[in-house]
């Protein structure tokens, strides 16, 4: 049997492989399930020992996530008119009243603007650069590509202090633009390298055909190359978004009042009125959703090899 021969695995092998995959999935899913579950617990259930697997669901965590509350005296509470909404009721049950909205919504929007903005920019610039590197004779091409790659050879946070000082000088500290530029800069090397690989795979003949068919180089690029690079662009965008969305260290360092993203904000929820684990878990759960939705939306591009079968070899 040669090293390259492919044989159909036996039923036993399939069973073992299947079991291992399911086991691994369960182990990796467990923290996630726990976070989602904790979001629907009451603060008492969240910290009870032994941990509660079965519990009565409550939306208190989500209410606490989106509100700030003040404790008031029992007499004053009794004097208030009855609560108008279900979430006011939940808060009143804890002898508190809603003082106002929390900043979670605002922080979440910051994450959306900075995450998607930097992803768009990194993928946009990355696609153009990758196309140029793939198709044109660029002077010092290999050195430039290596330089771009080398920007990722140490953890970005290693240059935190120079960046902190630069941002302060340039007035970029705690701005959306500053964070978008920073995440774009970190992601662009990944984007260029990934996309160059995808574009290299697209035969030049398609563009040459388009050039002869009467189109300019740029028109050939967006009418013929871009649609075929969709798979690569989608997967690159997912990688870039995941990084920008989850980034914590720079966000802590460079943002505070204005452009703070959700990751540094979520832990601060803990401090509001005791250890409010359900609110933290609720914040984390909601924070997971956009990346999940984005990945699911782009999944068909990831799976569909659109050039499959079109090329005669």
């Amino acid at each position: 049997m040669s090293a390259h021969s492919v044989t159909e695995p036996s039923a036993r092998q399939k069973w073992i492989a299947g079991t291992l995959v399911i086991l691994y999935a369960l182990i990796t899913m467990l923290p996630l399930v726990w976070i989602v579950a904790t979001g629907f617990k009451t603060p008492q259930d969240a910290i009870s020992y032994p941990p509660k697997v079965l519990f009565e669901p409550s939306l208190e965590g989500y209410v606490n996530l989106f509100t700030t509350r003040t404790r008031i005296a029992a007499d004053d509470l009794a004097a208030l008119p009855p609560p108008e909404t279900w979430y006011e009721q939940i808060v009143r049950n804890r002898d508190m009243v809603i003082a106002g909205p929390s900043r979670y919504g605002e922080r979440f929007m910051n994450s959306v603007i900075i995450g998607f903005g930097s992803t768009f920019l990194a993928v946009f610039l990355g696609t153009l650069a990758a196309y140029a590197f793939s198709r044109f004779r660029v002077p010092l091409k290999d050195d430039l590509l290596f330089f771009i790659l080398s920007t990722r050879m140490m953890p970005p946070i290693a240059v935190a202090i120079p960046i902190f000082l630069m941002f302060r000088e340039l007035g970029l500290s705690d701005t959306h633009l500053g964070m978008i530029l920073l995440y774009t800069a970190v992601n662009i090397s990944l984007a260029v390298w990934l996309l160059k690989g995808f574009i290299d795979e697209i035969p030049r003949e398609y563009e040459e055909a388009a050039l002869i068919d009467g189109y300019t180089r740029f028109q050939a690029f967006y009418k013929v190359v871009l649609p075929q690079a969709a798979t690569g662009i989608a997967s690159t965008a997912i990688f870039c978004l995941i990084f920008a969305w989850n980034e914590y260290a720079f966000a802590v360092l460079l943002t505070s009042g204005n452009a703070q993203t959700a990751p540094p904000f979520i832990p601060t929820i803990i401090g509001v009125g005791g250890q409010d684990w359900p609110a933290v878990a609720a914040g984390a759960t909601l924070f997971l959703l956009p990346v999940m939705v984005f990945t699911i939306l782009l999944r068909k591009h990831l799976l569909r090899g659109i050039t499959f079968g079109a090329v005669r070899k």
Partner: protein, 331 residues
């Protein structure tokens, strides 16, 4: 349609010279076939005319206009590629309409529909127009690819082995189709192939390329009957021309190193005795594999021949071709 003229065109890729001072004229309305082995510079010639490559020396004119500084789009040429022919993300209809929708042509949609329908009819792909380009067989893909050139009315059609990947039946059908299109449109074609049947049946002129040099241009008959060298002689004719030491059959012209014998140059029943190695009955023709003084000779004979392997037959040259030591034709 227009005349295309290459003057003294040279193209190098690094250290290799792909084309070496080529002069070639494709007359208006001609069907010129470029013939030659792989790496002879056939495809490079097409790419230079199309503007996908720039020559290192020489000029290219289309309809008398120097196109050196023009982009491929400005040159008004259509090209059929050997492979990677269709835009995979588009339907067959959109593939065919693509050149007509270009900023250079900007054809109204109703005219596009009419033209696409007409070409699809000609190439018998009308029932596939709404398919995705990826949902076609190899033959259909190549017909769509040819169709994408035919929707236009360019100065010249450039075709790079468009039939090489098709099966024999489709190839012979499309060969007739292309010839018909050429005749009815009065189109100018420059067609690259290494298939001599395509060259012989379709071409009004054949150009033979060898190692970047255009060694001979002429009608298919001229090239076949009057080749300038051994390599040209070997490009046309099936079975291939037999090349043997000049003196094998007695006297030969001075300086002759090689005698070239096509089947019709071999008279049977006279001359030297050769042993029959094998008789191949191909149906419409019968090939004799002979051996004479250690040299293999292949010729044709009567399809009803009684000859069998192991027997002998006398053969003699009749109006053969002679070549010198460098392969040049001398008689």
């Amino acid at each position: 349609m227009a005349e295309v003229r290459l003057t003294n065109v040279t193209k190098r890729f690094g250290r290799t010279t792909a084309l070496d001072a080529v002069d070639l004229t494709v007359p208006d309305g001609a069907f010129v076939v470029l013939l030659g082995p792989t790496g002879a510079g056939k495809t490079t010639t097409l790419r230079l005319i199309a503007g996908l490559e720039r020559p290192d020396a020489g000029t290219i004119t289309v309809g008398g206009r120097d196109v050196s500084s023009e982009t491929p789009a400005q040159r008004d040429v259509a090209m059929v590629f050997q492979q990677y022919s269709l835009y995979p993300h588009m339907s067959v209809r959109d593939n065919l309409a693509f050149p007509l929708r270009s900023p250079i042509l900007r054809t109204p949609e109703d005219m596009i529909a009419a033209k696409v329908g007409q070409v699809a009819e000609t190439l018998r792909i009308a029932h596939k127009l709404d398919n995705k380009a990826t949902e076609l067989s190899g033959g259909e893909m190549q017909r769509v690819s040819i169709g994408r050139a035919l929707v236009r009315d360019p100065a010249i059609y450039l075709m790079d082995e468009p039939l090489s990947s098709l099966d024999a039946k489709l190839r012979s059908e499309l060969r007739i189709e292309l010839k018909r299109i050429h005749a009815s449109l009065g189109a100018t074609l420059l067609y690259v192939t290494h298939d001599q049947t395509e060259a012989m049946t379709m071409a009004s002129h054949v150009g033979v390329l060898d190692e970047g040099r255009l060694v001979q241009v002429g009608t298919p008959r001229e090239i076949y009957e009057n080749p300038v060298s051994v390599t040209v002689a070997a490009r046309l004719g099936l079975p291939r021309i037999n090349t043997l030491p000049a003196g094998l059959f007695g006297t030969a012209p001075a300086n002759a190193a090689t005698i070239g014998l096509r089947p019709e140059h071999i008279a049977e029943g006279e001359g030297r005795e050769a042993s029959v190695v094998r008789v191949e009955h191909l149906g419409d023709q019968t090939r004799l594999h002979l051996r004479l003084d250690g040299h293999d000779i292949i010729t044709l004979t009567d399809v009803h021949t009684p000859l069998r392997g192991g027997e002998t037959i006398a053969i003699a040259p009749r109006a053969p071709l002679y070549f010198d030591a460098d392969g040049r034709r001398i008689a």
